[in-house]
């Protein structure tokens, strides 16, 4: 669910229109995840294949290098781990992080 306060009917654009481009980033969907991708920086070659495949744009890159994974939007689908040619991404049960 979103971490923003739900607005009343007088405060929102009419007809369910989205009138601000790119505002899906504000809607956090990471709570859906049951397994989390964890990257091993030593194995990672920064080939960016995971960045290409991620359906939620959750691989954060700058200057051609992977900086982080956006856990506020990653849903834990595991495509990045499957596609990684050097097996640098491991899917870890969320329970491990909520102990």
């Amino acid at each position: 669910m979103s971490n923003t306060k739900n607005l009343g009917w007088k405060e929102i654009p009419e007809g369910g229109l989205i009138i601000e481009a790119g505002n899906a980033a504000k809607y956090e969907t990471g709570s859906w995840r049951s397994v989390r991708p964890v990257r091993d920086e030593k194995k990672c070659t920064n080939c960016l294949i995971c960045w290409v495949y991620c359906p939620d744009s959750s691989i954060l890159v700058s200057d051609g290098k992977i900086k982080n994974i956006d856990y506020s939007h990653c849903k834990g689908c595991g495509i990045c781990a499957t596609e990684c040619p050097v097996k640098a991404i491991e899917m870890v049960d969320e329970k491990e992080f909520n102990k």
Partner: protein
């Protein structure tokens, strides 16, 4: 000012109104009894008399879908249909209203199948009464023409931004030759003004998304907005009607009262039946009977407060429905009016007549018999049969 009267059908009158409106896009599929309307308009397109992009589609579902796309893109958009065509559009009819797109649709009322029937009743548009569209019913070709022009202003009003359907009775009005007084092109152009789309998809500098997923956290708020918008449209209908009088000399409000203020008995009806009822009122008035008529123009939103004011002084009312609500307690117009009257301190005796299904004629004799029934109800002080079927063989 000399009046120029033209003799033509309701379909031709509305096609002429659309020609004068000159919409950006018209997407329509032919269906009886609307066919002649779209055919006439397509002639205007072929003759280069309008700038409209005329989209011939493979079904009414596609017609309304094309209208939604074109309206979201930022165009002034119109269409027309009848009966089964409206039924086939149904999914997108709701989407047009929910996306707040000011599309204007001419609906030539016709019975829904089955059995297949091409003649007039109101089952098609009454089925769409909860779709979020504003509904204007027209008594004759003149009103169909006038309402079509006014509908553009109502739909596009910034506080409304909702689609409007303008009704006329299939064959009775759509194919009957009637006298119509057109308004000059320049006056119509000035009256409707230039369309100002609010969130056009083609404005690439202000990107917008139409129709995203909207779940339990926001859908309800968007429906609440819609309820408010259509409620506000009632005031706009009156304002536009007043302004329209300035260019046409013809008066339009929420409904027309015909010898109603001093009447004891009255009929409430929509569309062409009201014309027949007026004739009967004249005849009975000549005999000294205190009878009247309320012809409802605006059915959605339903102007219940004004209707209460107009009806509560009566002793008995007959509400005429040209459609049934199968399994309901009376037809759609009856349930609305009876429910509204509960807000009144004085509730007149009331009775519902379901009539004219599939184009079954209603004539002066039928309407005279209704006023006679109302007289008996007044005498007895009670209604023996609340929901009646008028003109059906037992």
């Amino acid at each position: 000012m000399s009046k120029k009267i033209t003799a033509l059908t309701g379909n031709e009158a509305v096609a002429y109104a659309i020609k004068q409106i000159n919409p950006d896009v018209m997407a329509a599929y032919p269906i009886t009894p609307q066919t002649a309307l779209v055919q006439k308009f397509s002639e205007y397109v072929a003759d280069g008399l309008v700038d409209t992009e005329f989209i011939t589609v493979e079904s009414e579902h596609s017609a309304m879908s094309a209208c939604v796309g074109a309206a979201a893109a930022g165009g002034r958009v119109m269409t027309a249909t009848s009966a089964n065509g409206l039924a086939l559009m149904f999914e997108i009819v709701y989407i047009a209203a929910s996306n707040r797109l000011p599309i204007v649709m001419s609906v030539v009322n016709r019975a829904l199948s089955a059995p297949i029937n091409i003649h007039c009743d109101h089952s098609d548009t009454m089925g769409a009464r909860d779709s979020g569209w504003i509904q204007l019913y027209s008594e004759n070709a003149q009103e169909a023409y006038d309402n079509t022009i006014q509908a553009i202003r109502i739909a596009e009003h910034m506080e409304v931004r909702l689609p409007v359907m303008v009704m006329q009775d299939g064959f009775i009005t759509s194919h009957g030759i009637d006298c119509v007084e057109f308004i000059d092109d320049e006056k119509v152009t000035k009256f409707i003004g230039k369309y100002q789309p609010r969130y056009p998809l083609l404005d690439v500098n202000h990107p917008v998304t139409y129709g995203p997923l909207d779940l339990y956290d926001y859908y309800f708020e968007h429906k609440r907005q819609q309820a408010e918008a259509i409620k506000k449209s009632q005031k706009v209908v009156v304002e536009v009607g007043n302004e329209f009088k300035q260019i046409s000399g013809r008066e339009y409000g929420l409904f027309e009262e015909y010898h109603l203020s001093d009447a004891e008995r009255a009929i409430v009806a929509l569309s062409s039946t009201a014309g027949t009822a007026k004739q009967v009122v004249d005849e009975l008035r000549a005999k000294g009977e205190k009878v009247g008529l309320l012809k409802l123009r605006l059915f959605r939103p339903f102007p219940y407060q004004e209707i209460i004011q107009a009806l509560s002084h009566l002793k008995a009312i007959a509400i005429l429905d040209r459609s049934d609500s199968f399994g309901g307690f009376g037809g759609p117009l009856f349930t609305e009016i009876r429910s509204a009257l509960l807000e009144s301190e004085k509730i007149p005796q009331n009775v519902n007549y379901i009539y004219g299904l599939g184009g079954r004629d209603i004539n002066q004799v039928d309407i005279t018999s209704i006023y006679a029934d109302l007289e008996n109800i007044v005498k007895k002080g009670k209604v023996e049969e609340r929901i009646k079927y008028l003109g059906v063989r037992e």
